[in-house]
């Protein structure tokens, strides 16, 4: 038996709230689009969003269209923390409990919007700030940011006779944020959807500033096929290059354990932005060693080595009971 049902009716009957609808213009395999959907799904409809300039802003709202089902505002690149703070102050003055979310890329968070973010954290605004970390200025055409990992190639950190990609280290933003002694700061990765949802729910329940840095692979900027996003993002975690951690009031509260640590070359080899490290060249070998040392350092300081099976996660893991080694 078939039943005719209106699309609008079907949407109303959706079991899950969707804050970001399909039809937006993100690239195939975009990490940000998936993260935004997961974050708003977990946060629910009683929110409003301040969004920094960047890919997420551009691909979701080409006038007169919008893919958002939550109240959403884009003001500028570098003021998202402050706009969110103003929204929160207004809601507080009106006695409303709607939660304010702030969305920014790594450029809008680590670099140009850093001051406004710091001010928002210091003043204790009840805002969940989500950083979509794709490790470069992708919207303007892949320029290096302070989040770009060491040795990565971007259009402003190209390798050449005198350079091996980006000369500087990736900024440790989550530690800097946590140093504001906010109640909760965490990292997550699009490769672990239930981890994202769990952390968003956790942050939503906290009255005060919270911060979530989500590793967001970019097929175009990193140089890999769009269907590999989750695999690439997962390798960043499994090699120790992107530790998944939680910090409460500045103190390390938990980490996602790595049951089987993979060598960094497994991750780097998947992406064109590191291809200059895989040539027969002494400098390339040195850089690979350097990056391995950075991963080893992460594993050491956060004590990432776990035991047993590797963490396995997929969408719905937190709501559907499955067997196997499950983290969290």
């Amino acid at each position: 038996m078939t039943t005719n049902i209106l699309i609008s009716e079907l949407r109303k009957n959706q079991p899950r709230f969707r804050g970001l609808e399909s039809g937006h213009r993100a690239c195939l395999g975009c990490g940000e689009a998936l993260i935004a959907r997961l974050v708003t799904e977990a946060a629910g409809p009683d929110v409003m969003v301040a969004n920094a300039t960047g890919c997420l802003e551009i691909f979701t709202t080409p006038w007169p269209e919008s893919a958002w089902r939550v109240p959403w505002v884009h003001s500028l690149f570098e003021n998202t923390g402050a706009v969110a703070a103003g929204m929160e102050a207004a809601l507080k003055a009106q006695g409303k409990s709607t939660k304010v979310l702030a969305f920014g890329g790594d450029g809008g968070t680590f670099d140009i919007g850093f001051q406004a973010l710091s001010g928002m954290l210091e003043r204790g605004h009840n805002v969940l700030y989500v950083c979509f970390d794709n490790e470069a200025y992708m919207n303007t055409g892949i320029q290096r940011s302070s989040s770009t990992p060491h040795a990565a190639m971007t259009t402003t950190s190209p390798p050449g006779k005198m350079r091996m990609g980006k000369r500087h280290l990736k900024k440790d933003i989550v530690s800097i944020v946590a140093a504001h002694h906010i109640p909760y700061a965490a990292t997550s990765s699009v490769a672990y959807p239930s981890d994202i949802r769990k952390k968003v729910r956790r942050a939503m329940a906290i009255e005060g500033p919270t911060f979530l840095q989500v590793h967001s692979p970019c097929p175009l900027g990193w140089g890999y096929e769009g269907d590999q996003s989750i695999a690439v993002a997962r390798l960043a975690v499994q090699t120790g290059l992107f530790p998944i951690i939680e910090l409460e009031r500045g103190e390390l509260a938990s980490v996602m354990p790595l049951r089987e640590v993979l060598p960094v070359s497994d991750y780097l080899r998947t992406q064109q932005r590191f291809r200059h490290l895989f040539v027969d060249d002494l400098r390339a070998r040195e850089e690979l060693e350097h990056i391995q040392a950075l991963a080893d350092h992460n594993i050491e300081i956060y004590n990432l080595r776990g035991v047993g099976l590797d963490a396995f996660d997929s969408e719905g893991m937190d709501t559907v009971r499955r067997g196997g080694g499950r983290w969290a």
């Binding site: 009683d46 919008s66 003001s75 706009v83 102050a89 507080k92 003055a93 406004a116």
Partner: protein
Amino acid sequence: MLEALEGSQAVAKAVALCRPQVIAAYPITPQTHIVENISKLVADGKLQCEFISVESEFSAASVVLGAALAGSRAYTASASQGILLMGEVLFNIAGMRVPIVMTCANRAVSSPLSIWNDQQDSMAVRDAGWIQLYCSDNQEAVDSTIQAFRIAERSELPVMVCMDGFTLTHTMEGIEIPTQQQVDAFLPPYKFSRSLVPNNPISLGTLVSPEFFSEARYSHHKALLNAEAEIVSADRDWAALTGRRCGGLLSVEGPEQSKVAILTIGSVLGTLREALRELPSGQPVKLISLRSFRPFPVDALKVACKGLDDVIVLERAFSPGSGGIVGLEVLGALSELANPPRVHNFAAGLGGRDIPLEILPKLLAVLSDPGDGRFRVIDVDLSKLPVEDR
């Protein structure tokens, strides 16, 4: 009842009477006294609002933007470098057509560094798309601040109330502070047509393609032109309520038969009024005080200047490499008249240089010796400059 109040203190009281829900500010001379007074009112429980001491003027403007969008009446104040640091946000607020009121305690812009008064700061952001009202005394600063909230909220445009730093902000005057009942009768509670609410989600500040951009800019321009009516009606209704008016778009005083007018903007009006009273020759001179610089009141100005032979524009800022800012706009507006008056343009009082009563004969001297008719900076002592700069 008149109260002896410092300009900043009076403005703080006026702001409080408007029941703002969110105020964000960053300290900068000569604006600081305003937000200091407001924070005291908050601390004493005389004003219920979220007072946010932000980490920069850039964030002050951004916080009030977020607050207004989330449905609260919002206010900020700044000056000089702070106004310029806000610059990007000021354009953004206006382009989004968000009603916000800001006081600009006019001050010179570095470099060279000067904490003293001129109007280079607000003039530098004249194209941001804000309404700009200039005050000639502190009573006007109080009344214009209250009117500004109504103008902003009715026209869905931000309003910058400009008052000369120190000359007004730090000067004690006898001021009539309106009652709460008067302000409540004049200013209904804040309501913004495009507030963010979860049960009716909208997206604001989206990307606009060339296909729509010209229309967006045109509608912004029209909104500012249409705001003239709101500025006039706010002043008229305020006068009906309190008996005081601020001059609407501009005010004219002086003998009807005058063939000469001096056009000013801001607090120098009082100096010229005083100087004219003491003028021995008794030459009839009108004084035109431009209150609304944006929207620029072309029609009102044409009416005010009709039949005049000479208009002397005196301003407290200029555009290096070009000349007077107000002067050029006055010249443009009056060129539409059948027999336009000659426009003479001077800048004075830069970076806190005093404008004494003796300025009047210097201005009027231009009538007998118009020179090359170009813009001039009054009171430049060339002996202070190296020879090649003279």
